[in-house]
């Protein structure tokens, strides 16, 4: 069962970030261990004396080649639609992809996306030929508007970036899934542990995007494997059909033909 992003089939439902790892070598090992085929990255100014940037870029190219994957540039740090559109165009030129993980931040404290600027940037980028993957809050109407603008993929947050708090508002996330059955929904940001990813998949989400949960683990490579397994477990659980919860207990063991000493009145 594969994930499709803008017509591109992918073997894994995990999208993974490339930041915060203890070393470039561990980053490479962890990404490969995750089996993800989509790796996020970004752009920034570079000090002329700093040669590490070129090395990281080389590593990322090697990783993507080995996993037969795809780069997903982001617009991290942008606070206006104009900034995000400019950064997206710069990314498209360098990375040769029209995919863009669109981030437009409205608040520095919790890095919450600005819905107004996000919609404006989305519209401009779609008109410029981009395939937009917007990072947004778990607001149903905002997700609906993004879908109406032409986003085939929508990425509501689980909780603020880097918090590891997991799914803050499961009801909101379930409602988005229920109301946008045709959209490809990727849960992005705030995932802390493999069970968070599993819960998202059990809800019927199409995938999960994470970074800190793997990169900041004591053993990022092992954690990457754990997330890969958790996504598969959650997806299979969703497809298999989860039983309805019941208000009262029901015996699992058949009660017919129970031994006579279980009968009422027999001692």
């Amino acid at each position: 069962m594969s994930l499709t992003i803008y017509g591109q089939p992918l073997k894994s439902r995990l999208l993974i970030g490339s930041a915060l790892y203890p070393s470039p070598q561990i980053m490479k090992q962890a990404i490969l261990a995750s089996q993800s085929q989509v790796v996020t990255l970004s752009l920034k100014r570079q000090n002329p004396a700093d040669k590490s940037g070129a090395k990281i870029w080389q590593y990322l190219q090697e990783v993507v080649e080995q996993c037969q994957g795809h780069l997903l540039p982001n617009t991290a740090g942008c606070k206006t639609a104009k900034e995000a559109v400019t950064l997206a165009k710069m990314s498209r030129e360098i990375f040769k992809t029209d995919w863009i993980k669109l981030e437009v931040i409205g608040d520095d404290y919790n890095l919450q996306p600005d819905p107004i600027e996000l919609l404006s940037a989305t519209e401009q980028l779609i008109n410029a030929g981009f395939k937009v993957l917007p990072y947004c809050t778990d607001d149903l109407v905002l997700c609906q508007r993004l879908y109406d603008l032409g986003c085939q993929v929508i990425m509501p947050w689980a909780s603020p970036i880097g918090t590891g708090k997991g799914l803050m508002n499961p009801y909101n996330l379930e409602t988005i899934r229920l109301r946008l059955p045709e959209a490809t929904l990727i849960l992005d940001a705030g995932i802390g542990k493999p069970s968070d990813a599993c819960i998202a998949m059990e809800m019927g989400y199409d995938g999960v995007l994470l970074n800190s949960a793997v990169a900041l683990a004591d053993n990022p490579v092992m954690m990457a494997k754990a997330f890969s397994a958790a996504l598969q477990a959650g997806e299979q659980g969703y497809v298999a059909g989860i039983m309805q919860q019941r208000q009262t207990a029901h015996p699992s063991t058949p009660t017919l033909d129970t031994p006579f000493w279980h009968q009422p009145g027999v001692s």
């Binding site: 970030g17 490339s18 930041a19 915060l20 790892y21 980053m27 996020t40 990255l41 970004s42 752009l43 920034k44 100014r45 570079q46 002329p48 040669k51 940037g53 070129a54 990281i56 870029w57 990322l60 540039p73 982001n74 991290a76 104009k82 900034e83 400019t86 950064l87 165009k89 710069m90 990314s91 030129e93 360098i94 990375f95 970036i161 880097g162 970074n211 800190s212």
Partner: protein
Amino acid sequence: MNIYINGKNQKLDAKQTTLAMALSMFLNDNQTNSSFAVAINGEFIGKEYYDKTVLSTDDSIDVLFPIVGG
């Protein structure tokens, strides 16, 4: 002429300088050979326009390189 590259003030002697000339002056060899993209005053400038883009005084040039990201 005064310009800014990645926020740093730089002086240009020539009266008329293209973006391509400024980049060759202020980027080191490593950077020139790397993948990068450019914006002037917040507007993206494609590589095909580096030779044709004439700088004005106080132009702010951003030269961005790939980096890890989430």
